[in-house]
């Protein structure tokens, strides 16, 4: 046997022994790392995510009639209640929001086995654990949290995450609700300096079909993270126990939105069919509303709300809080 072949055999033997060593599998196999600072890319759904969604715009969301009704009666003034002011985004929405994302992992100091992947998003300090150690999800009687309980595993280079135990939240910042029975599956893909997150959200109460969204991030080589303290305050004097909301009868936001943007009400109202490409072909045949506003008004700035009605995007929907990655405040981002 040639000396070079001996060396090769020795190397192969050593590699085999190493791979058979207890606990070596998950640490030795090369796997993409997501660790680092990431800046959100807002090209996708920019208007919804940065200026903020219009009240009454549910297009493209596979929502139920119940979700539509809740959104149509939602009043942005709800967010002025002290008990609503410091709510962070739930993990079902947080990756769509603003603020730097930091990802790091925690490993057993002895074995270097991956225990969990942690994420932190600046706005409202959304911090999350993705358990990678095979632990089961907790009992249905355990508390629900904004970020939920997440477990993950790698499928090749793709991180797959399953989340349960979520608090009731939202899927769009104009009152479209998500119940605390919702669950989420995510897939994280890394391609060099880009990170893509796919979310698949299911909710028996408010979604007729899974809601699929993607969010993009790019590496932030000079990443920093600021704290995000939040302490609520009384912003509007109210009678104790008052909960702002619109009545069923005066719930017209979808009509207003459709009229303002000259689109069929059926499109504005959302629903599973509006999430499909085929819906575009259907649009020309859908009836338009009789104008209920200024017929010359198009995509320009929205008119002031009627006096005393109080409808409007408000601090939450309009995103009038702090700018991305910058100052602090209570606005929904």
């Amino acid at each position: 046997m040639q000396p070079s072949r001996l060396r090769l055999a020795g190397l192969l033997l050593a590699a085999g022994v190493f791979l058979l060593a207890p606990g070596a599998a998950s640490t030795a196999v090369a796997q993409v790392t997501l660790v680092g600072y990431w800046n959100p890319i807002f090209d996708e759904d920019f208007i919804e995510r940065i200026p903020g969604p219009n009240v009454g715009d549910y297009a493209g969301l596979p929502i139920t009639a119940a979700a539509r009704k809740r959104a149509n009666t939602w009043d942005a003034s709800l967010l002025t209640l002290p008990e609503h002011q410091c709510k962070p985004h739930p993990s079902t929405y947080g990756f769509r929001g603003v603020g730097v994302l930091r990802i790091w992992d925690e490993r057993d100091p002895q074995t270097q086995q991956l225990i969990r992947i942690k994420t932190h998003i600046q706005w409202q300090a959304q911090e999350r654990d993705i358990w990678m150690d095979g632990r089961p999800h907790p009992s249905e009687l355990e508390p629900h949290t904004w970020q939920g309980f997440s477990t993950g595993h790698f499928e090749g280079d793709v991180l797959v995450v399953r989340t349960t135990h979520l608090k009731a939240g939202w899927v769009r910042r104009n009152g479209v609700p998500l119940s605390d029975a919702a669950t989420m599956t995510e897939r994280f893909f890394r391609h060099d300096d880009l990170l893509t997150q796919v979310t698949i959200i299911e909710d028996p109460a408010y979604l007729s079909e899974p809601l699929v969204k993607t969010n993009g991030f790019s590496t932030a080589l000079n990443g920093t993270m600021e704290p995000y303290p939040c302490r609520p305050a009384v912003e509007v004097p109210r009678e104790a126990g008052e909960v702002p909301h619109h009545g069923i009868d005066d719930a017209l936001p979808t009509k207003e939105f459709a009229d303002r943007h000259k689109i069929p009400e059926e499109a504005a109202a959302g629903g599973a069919s509006t999430a499909l490409p085929e819906f575009m072909g259907k649009l020309p045949s859908l009836p338009m509303l009789e104008p209920i506003g200024d017929p010359n008004e198009g995509f320009g700035p929205p008119p002031a709300p009627p006096a005393g009605r109080g409808r409007g995007a408000g601090p939450g929907a309009a995103g009038t809080g702090p700018a991305a990655g910058g100052a602090r405040g209570r606005g929904r981002q």
Binding site: K69, E83, A125, E142, G241, V243, I248
Partner: protein
Amino acid sequence: MANLTPRINWPRLAVLGATLTTALVSGVLVTAQAQQAPPLPNFDQVTVRAFKIQGNVWMLAGAGGNVTVQAGDDGVLVVDTQFAQMADKLLAEIARISGGKPIRYVLNTHVHPDHVGGNERFRRAGRAIIAGNVAQDIADSGAEIIAHENVQTRMSRVDGTTPAAPSGALPTDTFFGESTEVYVNGEAVRLIHQPAAHTDGDVLVHFRGSDVVATGDIYTNTGYPVIDTARGGTINGIIAGLNRILDLTVPKDKQEGGTMVIPGHGRIADEADVVEYRDMVTIIRDRVQQMMKKGMTLAQIKAAGPTSDYDGRYGATTGFWTTDQFVEAVYRTLGGK
């Protein structure tokens, strides 16, 4: 030693009561509707699950309302006792948690048998802290049972719908007015009466040191609030109770954690969960009230669907407490005829 011999077969009665209570809640309330008693669980197959909340406080789940346990060097304080058939299993779990410490206090959040059914058994298993020349007799009679006076009144009353409870199951110490308190295991425990909410005898139990609130059925997260109008419950009392809970709770950060909430039924919660529920109940109350102002009848209000956007999460079309019954209770307790 006090005579604790039941005049009637209370354990069996408690099971019956479990059926009856909910039936009564709805039966007395909504006489026009066919009532469906809830199926009783097979108690042999029910296991008790214990959840450490924080501080000295645990939650036990089995069959019936959640049981809150506070354990420490002084002994054990228990809030609610589920059904009589669950007593042995619950007591075994409490002994495990507490290291065999005696039960000193049993607090009742309200009168329903799925919360007081085990009272007699729990009392017998416990031992009060007593001094004086009759101390031995009193201590031997078991743990103290503390409740609002309306709980004792209703448990004692033979009113044609509920049989009177045996003396051993009755509260031994009652209070009237806003609140009463005990100090045990190094922390103050306040019983706060919430008038005319789920019933007329509701109390919230606030563990000030452990920072936990046990709410009884003023707050549940399994469905719409049950309003026992036959026993003095009202929608506005429920909402006032939910807001009272929010007065007691302080989230740790970002509207999460901090004061923890043990609901009468359902999962462990915190302030944000109660806010979500309070908002829902308040909005539905406001809608029904608005419809009543327009002169709509109960049938018209039901047809208008004032709850339809919440039914997927909280509603029920069958069982002992349906969405229809909830809407009717709201309507009636807002003055609808």
